[in-house]
Subunit: 573 residues, 2 copies
C-alpha cells in the first residue's frame, strides 16, 4: 500500500515573537518526526504570527522573519516541512515555504488576498502567480493558503490537474460562531470535486481582537472527514492517507512526472519516495463536539487568556456591579487565568442596591476569587461640590450619572497602574451598539471580553457556565434573574432607555452582522420607528466605539477592525 | 480663437449628507453657469463625501447616492458637469459622472485604487477598465480620478492618445505637510509629457482624521500653473484654456473624431461646440502662498472646525494646564470657532504651580475666551482616602499621578455631558508616540487637535500664531519658555522621563513617518540605546493609542487610520 503520513501542527504563534515561534515550530517538527510523518505543516505566517500588520513595514522584521525561516528549514531533517512566513524581496508575499533535508525546496505565494472584514491583505501583500505542485516523499502535493481554497478553480483545480494527490491548505482563519460549518462544507466540496485528499490546517490562539480556533480537518477524496484537531488548543493531527485508494478514484488525471508542467501547475521535486517501516498510528482522539454556546464560551476564554498573557500580564481586575455582564466576565477570566489571578472590585455608590454588593460577594465566593470593596461616595460628593457652581440651576441627568461611572473607572485604573494588573471591561455588544456605556467610565480598561457578545447571549453563556463548568452555579440566581440596571440613579433600569433586549438583539444582528439596512430590516417585521431609532443610535455612537478597548470577535461582524464607519456623517438609516 | 472655459468647484462635502451635498453642488453649478463655463467639475465622491467607508455596505446609501446624482444631472443645463459619486450595480466603483443637457452622458470608473496609508479603496471598489474621452462643448476631455493621475501611462496617456486636449482629474486628496509640492510636480509632468491642459481639482474641509486642502490647480501643456484655488476654503476656479495654442503644440496626435476608438480610449460625444459670446473672465485671485507652518496651522483650524461642526457641536472646552499644548489648542479652537465658542477650564491640584494658573488666565484673557477654575483637591483627597488601605505600604508613583489626570478628565467630561460641548484633548504627537499621557485622563475627549503635531512643531506653531494672527502674542511668553511639565508630582519635568524633544522628534519622524527601523535610524547618527528605547516605547504604547480620540493628520504618517499596529506583539525594534 502506498500511503502518506501527514501531520498538521495547529500552533499558537505570537505576533512578532520570531524566536518563540521558531522554538515552538521546531518542537513540533521533532514531535512529528518521532511519529515518522512524511510532512508536517504549520499555519499561515506561523513564523511571524498573524496579522503582523505594519510590522511588515520594518525591514528588520522582514529580515528576521527570513532568518527565522532558515532555522526552520535547517530542522527539516528526515521530514518535509511546510510553514507560513512572509516572503520579502522587492515585494512581500503571504507565503508557504516547503523544506526538506535541511534545504528550502520551494516557496508558494498566496494568490487570493482577502481585503474585507478583518482582513487587509491587499495593503501588504502582492498576489502570487504560480500554481506549483511539490513531490514530497514521492507524493505530489498541492500547497495553498487560506482564501486560496475558497475558489473552485485556481489554484486547487489547476494543482490537481498538474497531478497533486493531496491538498494542504494552511490558514490563520479567525473564529466566529458558525464559521466552522462553512469551512467544512467548503473543504468537503474542494476534496470531492477534485477527488483529492484535502487538509485544512488552522492556527490557534488569541491575537488582539481575533481568536483562531484550530479545529483542523483532513478530508478524503469523497469529501468525508478522516480526522479532526482540537478546538482552541494546540494539537498535532497526524493521519495516514491511502494513496492507492486515491489512484483508483482519479484515473481521469494523467500520471504526472517530475519536472513537467501540466497547464499552469509546475511540478517541483522535493523528496523521493522511500520505503519506511513505521509504527502504526494511534487514531487521533475525536474532539468533543462543542455546541454553539460552549464554543463561544471557549473562544472567550482563549482570547481573554492570550490577550492577557501575550501582553505580559498575569493578573486581571474587574469591576463587579452585581450585574450579569461583570459576572460572566469574571467567570471567563477565572476559567482563563485561574482564580488566584482574578480580582473583583465592587464600588458601591449611594444608588447601589444592597443586593448588588451581596450578589457580587457571593459570585466571588463561588468562583473563589478575591474581592475588594471600595465605596465611591467620598469622591462622588467631592465632584458634586466641585461642580456645584457650574451645574447650579441645571437638572440632574446623564452628566451626574456618568461622573459615578468615571470615578469607578479611575479607581480600577489606579489599582491597575499600582499593581500592574490589567482591567477587563464588562460591556456587551448590545450596549456598545447603543452607546449605553460611559466613555472613560465602565468603558475604561484594557480588554473588553464581551464586546461582541449580545446581551441575550450573555444570559445564555451564564446559564451554560452554571450548568457545565465547575464550580457549578457560580453565577448567583439573583444576578441572572434581576432586571438589568446601571444603578447610576434611583430605580434606573436598562429597559427605561433601551428596547427589550430580545428584540433589540435581533435588529442589531440584522443591521451590524448581516449589513441589512432600514428598508431590509423592516421587511423582517420589526417596528419601523424602532428600527430607525436603533440604526441612528448605533451610528451616532461610533465616536464611543472608536475609543473603546479592543475586544474579541465571536460573531460574523464585530465592532472593531472589521467594521469601519466614519464618525462625522449624516446618513443615519 | 477656440477656447474652453473650465470651472473647478472645490467644495466641502459632508459624508453621508447627500441632500446637503447636492444642494451645494447645484449652487456651484448655478454659479459656474453664470460665468458661462463650458464645464464645471466637482471632487471625487463629492455626492457622498470621502471616505464613506462601510456606509457603502448599505443598499439604501448607494441608492440614495444614485438618486442624488440624478438631481445633479438634472441641473446640468447649459453647462456640462463632472461629479464624483459611487457607481453601484453588481459591483461598486469610485466613479465620475459626466452630465450635460440634463442627461447622464457617461460614467468613468477609477482605475487605480489606493490601498495603503489612510486609503482602503480595494476594500470597497472594483477597478475600472475603460479609458473614455468625452467631447464636451466640442472639446475632447479626459476625466480621471485622483490616484489615476499618478501613473504615467494609464489612463492619462491612453486618453491623450485618443485625442483628449484637457485632463480633468478630480480628487479627495487629504492634506499632509509637503504634499502639495508632490502634487504640483506630478501634474506638471503629466501636463508637459502629454502636451495637454491638466486640471487638478481637490476637495476641501475636514472629515474625522483627514483634512482636504483644496489648492486646485490648472496647468498649461508646458506644465506651468495657469491658475490656483484657495487652500482650505471652498473656491470656484475658472479659467479660459486656449485650445488653438494646444493644437499647435500637439500636431503629432491625430485629429480625433466622435465615435471612433483610438487604442483603448473610446470617444463619447457629450455636447457640440457652440459659438458663445461670453464676458471676459476676471483673473482668479492668486492665493497667498502659505509657508509650511502657516499651512499646518490652517489645516488644524479647518480640521478642528469641521470635526466640531459636522458632528453637530458648536462649542468646545479645553483643559488649560498652563502648558504650551493646551495653549496652542485653545488658539486653534478660537480661530476655528470664535472666542465665544471656546471655554478654558483650569483644574489646579496641590502640585500645580501658581504660575500655571496665572498663565492660563492670561492666555484666556488674551484670546477673549471664558475660563472656569475648578480645583481638584477635594476629589484628589477623596481618592487617596478611598484607596489608602489598598495602597498602604506602596511607594507613590504613576498610579497616584494618573488619578489626578483622570479626575480632570472626569470634570471636563461632566461639563461636556451637562452642556453638550465637545472636549478637545491637547496631547501632541511626541507624547502620543511615547505614551506620555494618561488614558481616560488628559486623553479624555472627543477630538485630539495636536495628535499629529510633534512637540517641536507645537513651539513653532505657537510662535507663528503669536506673530501672525490677532490678537498678537496671545500665548504668554512664560508658556513658551518654561520647561514642559505634567505637574502631577512635585518638581516634575517632561525631561525626567523623555529624551530632549529636539532629538526625540527626529527619531520619531524617522521611525513613524519614514518607516525606518532601528538599523536604518542609527546610521543617521543617533545613539543606538536611545533609538532602541524609543522604538520599544512607541510600540509598547500602541494600546493607549488604540483608545485615543481621533485627531487630525498633518504629517505623511499619523497615529490613526493610516498606521496599523498590533497591540499584543513582541518585535520591539
Amino acid at each position: 500500500m502506498r500511503s502518506f503520513r501527514l501531520a498538521l501542527a495547529q500552533i499558537n504563534s505570537t505576533v512578532g515573537d520570531l524566536q518563540g515561534n521558531v522554538r515552538k515550530i521546531r518542537d513540533y517538527i521533532d514531535y512529528a518526526r518521532d511519529l515518522t510523518a512524511d510532512l508536517v505543516a504549520f499555519p499561515e505566517t506561523a513564523i511571524t504570527g498573524y496579522p503582523a500588520e505594519d510590522l511588515m513595514h520594518k525591514p528588520a522584521f522582514l529580515r528576521d522573519n527570513l532568518a527565522a525561516l532558515q532555522q526552520v528549514v535547517q530542522a527539516s531533517k528526515e521530514i518535509a516541512v511546510v510553514v507560513g512566513f512572509v516572503d520579502a524581496d522587492e515585494d512581500i508575499f503571504n507565503a508557504a515555504a516547503i523544506a526538506s533535508n535541511g534545504k528550502l525546496a520551494g516557496v508558494y505565494h498566496k494568490i487570493h488576498l482577502p481585503t474585507y472584514g478583518v482582513f487587509d491583505e491587499d495593503r501588504y501583500f502582492r498576489r502570487g502567480e504560480t500554481y506549483p505542485v511539490y513531490i514530497i516523499a514521492g507524493t505530489p502535493i498541492a500547497i495553498n493558503i487560506c482564501e486560496d481554497a475558497w475558489y473552485p478553480v485556481e489554484p486547487t483545480q489547476i494543482q490537481r490537474e498538474a497531478g497533486a494527490e493531496i491538498l494542504v491548505n494552511i490558514n490563520a482563519s479567525p473564529y466566529h460562531s458558525g464559521k466552522q460549518l462553512d469551512r467544512e462544507r467548503m473543504m468537503a466540496t474542494r476534496a470531492s470535486d477534485n477527488k483529492i485528499y484535502a487538509a485544512y490546517l488552522n492556527a490557534v490562539g488569541g491575537q488582539d481582537e481575533l481568536v483562531f480556533d484550530g479545529a483542523s480537518m483532513i478530508f478524503n477524496p469523497e469529501g468525508q472527514i478522516l480526522a479532526k484537531g482540537a478546538s482552541f488548543e494546540e494539537d498535532l493531527l497526524v493521519s495516514d492517507l491511502d494513496l492507492d485508494a486515491l489512484l483508483r478514484s482519479r484515473l481521469k488525471y494523467p500520471r504526472m512526472r517530475t519536472g513537467t508542467t501540466h497547464g499552469l501547475g509546475k511540478v517541483v521535486m522535493v523528496s523521493e519516495f522511500q520505503e519506511k517501516s513505521r509504527p502504526r498510528l494511534k487514531p487521533h482522539p475525536t474532539p468533543t463536539s462543542l455546541g454553539r454556546t460552549a464554543e463561544i464560551y471557549q473562544a472567550l476564554v482563549t482570547g481573554c487568556r492570550d490577550y492577557v498573557v501575550k501582553n505580559g500580564f498575569s493578573k486581571v481586575l474587574i469591576g463587579l456591579s452585581g450585574g450579569i455582564d461583570s459576572a460572566l466576565t469574571a467567570c471567563v477570566a477565572t476559567d482563563a487565568l485561574g482564580k488566584e489571578n482574578v480580582l473583583g472590585v465592587t464600588m458601591p455608590s449611594r444608588h447601589s442596591s444592597p443586593g448588588s454588593i451581596d450578589d457580587s460577594v457571593l459570585l466571588s465566593k463561588n468562583l473563589g476569587i478575591e474581592i475588594w470593596t471600595i465605596p465611591i461616595e467620598p469622591a462622588h460628593s467631592a465632584f458634586q461640590n466641585m461642580l456645584k457652581d457650574q451645574f447650579a440651576g441645571t437638572v440632574a441627568g446623564v452628566a451626574e450619572e456618568n461622573i459615578q461611572a468615571r470615578i469607578r473607572g479611575n479607581v480600577l485604573m489606579a489599582i491597575s497602574n499600582k499593581f500592574s494588573w490589567l482591567v477587563l471591561t464588562t460591556g456587551n455588544k448590545s450596549e456598545m451598539a447603543m452607546g449605553y456605556a460611559t466613555l472613560y467610565g465602565d468603558m475604561a480598561g484594557g480588554f473588553a471580553v464581551l464586546k461582541d457578545v449580545p446581551k441575550t447571549m450573555v444570559y445564555e453563556l451564564c446559564r451554560w457556565r452554571n450548568a457545565n463548568k465547575l464550580p457549578a452555579n457560580a453565577v448567583p440566581y439573583n444576578i441572572i434573574t434581576k432586571p438589568p440596571s446601571a444603578e447610576l440613579k434611583p430605580n434606573q433600569k436598562d429597559a427605561d432607555s433601551l428596547p427589550a433586549y430580545d428584540v433589540l438583539d435581533q435588529i442589531l444582528k440584522a443591521y451590524v452582522e448581516e449589513d441589512l439596512d432600514y428598508g431590509e430590516i423592516i421587511t423582517l417585521g420589526f417596528d419601523p420607528a424602532l428600527v430607525q431609532r436603533t440604526i441612528a443610535t448605533v451610528d451616532r455612537n461610533e465616536y464611543k466605539r472608536k475609543q473603546a478597548a479592543p475586544g474579541l470577535r465571536v460573531t460574523s461582524k464585530a465592532f472593531g477592525m472589521g467594521r469601519r464607519f466614519p464618525i462625522a456623517q449624516r446618513f443615519l438609516r
